[in-house]
Symmetry: C2
């Protein structure tokens, strides 16, 4: 859309009746598997995030009472080698400022917020309050707020949306503000960010005289939706929709903006606007391209707008994009974006395992996107994938104790890949932190007269439906066991539909309501069993899911996985580690007919279920000296023992492998 | 050795009686397989090399009558991406000068020299004469000669041997000079280079006041040996030996040189002197490390010195290094140096196929090294490997018509890897050109009373032994057929030992002298059958080698080749190409029991033998939409057709694969 065409689409329709919104974090208490994870974040990660931001001297950038650090690093930054070194430890000489540090503060605040709700921590709360005060002091009269453009590159604001993360930073601070408000009741940051959002709305929009821009790194869109939901202010929803609608329109904003800077638009480092998904208007996009995190954040914002406006043109585009990702470019772990070069997508079926970039943030972003697709109604197509990304490619990014972080999540390692304390681009630690700490909000979707149960796990939820308060308690040892007992406790009888996901990985499932078997096949639409009734205190729903073990095979077009098999049980993808299986994991082969055995191991890695089978291993001792010979290597029998992928690299360092050779 | 210890080893012993020297190129005329290759170089490559040097504006650097191009590029040069772009075509804007262009002129002159011997070309000869005149004009009074240091960075000569290829360039010009002299009888360049070598000898050596340096890129050592052999001047041999002996001694020359430049030796781009094999004295080295071409050139020089001085301390070190390369770091094609990062070696058993750097120059360098190991006596351990590198990983670098060049020689391609016209670092084209054009000199080793036949192939050699002229004619269709008839024709009866290699890849061999069967087992030492007799005109030796087909398996420690098989016939390694087998080569599997069939195909790729077998292919059509599923893919029968690796990428562009899946 161009300036001369103020568009019809910006009028706000009534919210569709069937829009399912997530429950705010404080309304769901998790226990069991996710309880342990959230406790680790609350006990350690949240404080660690703040401390490491301070160690990295990130306070100096945002604190107007200190001199500006004033160290500008080139936008396109050092080699992975150097990044790796910086990742390991802080050293005075390698600390620099970053244009996206406001976003890391935003996510750190968000993680702290959910953690404070989980577990009071007045010391951490004081620190966060002090950060918020700095932002309050930093904010300009007109509402503008960017530590980078105010303290490092003054005078240049709104001149490079393509590269400089300005609206992206605003988005993360908005998300932090909403979370901090919901968890602590404190409005200060929320008010700051409303003022900033108002300023942004005064700068961008279809009206004459406003900029027709949008951010090179999507994020502001989904953040404005959150802000609109938290404040009830439609104007923020409208602004989010504007950014979505405007993206990729001609004349191209990034071209014009570059020329206004005196730069050649063609001199763009990443060469194509596919990198930031602005190569065409979003409704015309049909391939998942470019930077993986940016893509996930854009599609999340699109799904929110599709949900809120009942916009089927967006929904159709999103389904095409979903299909493309699911059938061409997703790791079996729910990881995505194979290439470090663009931190993103390459070509169809290109899924290298050892060099997989599969950034933690990208899997977290897939969880965001999938959860928002569920806003348009329960559908296991999205929920099953949300679950896979949650349990595998995203939480692998955090050590079990909550103190160390993966940036890349490869599916194979020769023993040199380990979680680090920090990173020069510290986006992943607070991203996985906030996702885990807010896990409760992914469990449910609430519509006007329906509740969808997307995730299972020991937990208690409180919500209001049809004017009644309802408490819903899940009792389960999920994901280790598939038996889920759900008690529905409304304050008074209330009719609504309960949608229960029946995961596609479960080969056998049974559903009982108050002990009475439900015809699951008849009750199930789009992978969710629907139970409509007047619910009363004491009603009990029992879902028994077989925790099926599976051998997974990749489409033969995936060259890296041909002749290989991945093991799964329920939502979990498994891997083998050197510490359980000895070195040279590539030498292991698993026969197709080998029986898989699942075993509960309560003392291993915080309590997991392992899978084991009899396989073989090409032996090296009798092979001798030759590098090549015409006799094949001999094989010896070996017991293959696999653990859930998310739990790897929490013991002795060593090799790891997801895709085992078959044979 | 340090300045204070003028070493005993520099005294010149008599050349050992059993030193085998190669025959100069003009003494061996090849026909058949190698005849075709040499003709392509003489008819096209030699002229192309000169023309592309001119297009790249390399004349401007060396011609003292033109203004200096004066464009200095950073030593550590652009990304492979940029190099790739430059590789494709010349564009005015990307042309720069290079510090190593004298070496490319040296190799271009060398290729032209051998080509002129093969096929008169007065036009090319005039052009080369003009280049030599430029060098004559450029040479300083004191003998110094470097277009880089005289025209681009004057005043800095001998200040950065570590990085700047100064002696390396001298070495290649020396090799060019020797070749041009041998092929055309013209001495001008030889005289120039003798003056320069004398100058170098006045600058470097154990004597007080001389520099204790050596080149960061080895080459001068083997070139000085050639110069000594061509001129009979021992001083050049001595200087070569000095460079070998001095390498890696403490205090380290590159440290001292860096400090003298005011640089921090620790700021070395490649971080370790392993990169240029100066991390320790050469006799203490036991692992093949660093830049692959540098390593091969160093070991070649060491082997020459070991041969010429009968130096067993070098021989022992060389055997350790050979063993290390052969058992840990060599591709089955005779390619080496898997990594683009250091253009060299990484860790043991790390042999990635698709990303293999395996520079053409490195395989050519292995041919150099192996051939020089044969100087110490016939041994199939070296000759078999020389043959493998010759027929596979090196000549793959040149298109069949002699016009296009590989820099990298991967063992797998998705269809995007092709030979290019030129490269910003144009080392490989003239290197493969000169090697092919001089192939005759690798056929034989001549000692005082013995001739070793290292390579077979239709050809005629002329040499003098024990004061007699001998003509030796091989009649054979090798490598397509293993029958070799050798006529030994001395001008008068003469006694000497004929050593005939019996390649280890041949499972059955028979040897007849004048029709009489020889007990091959009894006659064979180190893989060579020795026939000592008084040879007379008309004597005929017949060697029948079975051209055995083989399935080759890699040591199971090579993760990239596990579960895979490579096909070979005789000295040739095979590969499959998309044009013969359809796309998706990774989906092909070859059962262990599948019968291999060899077929002569005279009209294919200039006449080759193909291998074929019945295999299977994982099918994609019935697989459907899913990226992952629990049913394995179905397989369909397919005929696998393989061609010799060297001949790939000479037809329709497409995928290529050496290591086929077994199963």
């Amino acid at each position: 859309m161009t300036a001369s065409q103020p568009a019809k689409e910006t009028s706000t329709p009534a919210r569709p009746k069937l829009a399912f919104r997530p429950l705010p974090v404080p309304q769901v208490d998790v226990r069991g598997f996710w309880g342990d994870r959230v406790d680790a974040v609350a006990a350690r990660t949240a404080g660690i995030l703040y401390d490491r931001c301070v160690e990295a001297r990130m306070l100096e950038q945002i604190d107007p009472d200190r001199p500006s650090p004033g160290i500008v690093i080139p936008f396109h930054s050092p080699s992975p080698d150097e990044a790796g070194e910086q990742g390991a430890e802080f050293t005075g000489s390698t600390v620099t400022t970053q244009m996206f540090w406001d976003s890391d503060w935003g996510k750190t605040i968000e993680t702290a917020a959910y953690s404070l709700y989980r577990r009071r921590n007045s010391e951490l709360e004081k620190k966060i309050d002090a950060v918020i005060e700095m932002y309050e002091k930093l904010q300009q009269e007109d509402g503008y707020l960017s530590s980078w453009y105010q303290r490092i590159q003054p005078g240049l604001r709104w001149t490079n949306l393509r590269d400089c993360h300005e609206l992206y930073c605003a988005g993360h601070l908005i998300e932090g503000a909403v979370a901090y408000y919901q968890a602590t009741g404190k409005r200060k940051l929320l008010d700051i960010m409303c003022r900033y959002a108002d300023h942004i709305a005064s700068m961008f929009g279809p009206e004459p005289g406003k900029k027709k821009g949008y951010c090179g790194h999507e994020e502001i869109e989904l953040a404005l939706v959150k802000l609109a939901r938290a404040t009830g202010e439609k104007k923020y929803m409208e602004l989010a929709k504007y950014f979505i609608d405007q993206r990729g329109q001609q004349p191209h904003y990034f071209d014009e903006e570059a020329r206004a800077r005196g730069a050649d638009p063609k001199a763009y480092h990443f060469k194509t606007y596919e990198y930031n998904q602005s190569h065409k208007p979003v409704r015309e996009q049909d391939k998942v391209v470019g930077h993986a995190v940016r893509a996930m954040y854009l599609y999340s914002g699109m799904a929110d707008i599709a949900t809120e406006y009942g916009d089927d043109t967006l929904r159709v585009a999103l389904d095409r994009l979903w299909d493309d990702l699911m059938t061409k470019s997703l790791y079996v772990t729910g990881g995505l974006g194979p290439s470090a070069h663009n931190e993103g997508f390459t070509s169809d079926y290109d899924l290298p395992n050892e060099t997989a970039y599969a950034e933690t943030c990208a899997s977290v972003g897939l969880v965001f996107w999938a959860s928002r697709m569920l806003g348009m109604g329960p559908n296991a197509r999205y929920a099953d994938m949300m679950e896979r990304a949650l349990y595998n490619g995203s939480i692998s990014g955090l050590s079990l104790d909550g103190s160390l972080f993966f940036y890349e999540n490869p599916l194979e390692s020769r023993g040199g890949h380990h979680r680090w304390k920090w990173h020069r681009c510290p986006c992943c630690p607070p991203n996985i932190g906030r996702m885990v700490a807010s896990i409760g909000s992914y469990f449910y979707g609430l519509a006007d007269d329906a509740l969808a149960v997307h995730l299972y796990g020991d937990s208690t939820a409180r919500f209001e439906i049809a004017g009644r308060q309802v408490t819903l308690v899940q009792t389960s040892n999920y994901p280790w066991d598939g038996a889920v007992a759900i008690e529905v406790g409304p304050e008074a009888p209330v009719a609504f539909t309960l949608h229960l996901r029946v995961p596609s990985w479960s080969r056998k499932a049974a559903l009982r309501v108050n002990g009475k078997l439900v015809d699951l096949e008849a009750a199930t639409v789009d992978g969710y069993a629907a139970i409509r009734r007047e619910w009363r205190q004491g009603d009990k729903v029992e879902l028994d899911l077989e925790m099926s073990m599976a051998r997974l095979f990749a489409n033969p077009q995936v060259r890296q996985d041909i002749g290989r098999v991945a093991l799964a049980r329920g939502p979990l993808i498994y891997c083998v580690e050197e510490t359980d299986n000895g070195g040279g994991l590539h030498r292991i082969a698993l026969p197709r007919e080998a029986r898989l055995e699942a075993r509960k191991e309560p003392n291993l890695l915080g309590g997991i279920v392992t899978l084991s089978a009899i396989g073989s291993r090409a032996e090296t001792e009798k092979w001798g000296h030759d590098l090549y010979r015409s006799e094949p290597p001999a094989a010896e029998e070996t017991t293959v023992r696999a653990i859930p992928y998310f739990a790897w690299d929490n013991r002795e360092p060593g090799e790891m492998l997801v895709w085992l050779r078959e044979g």
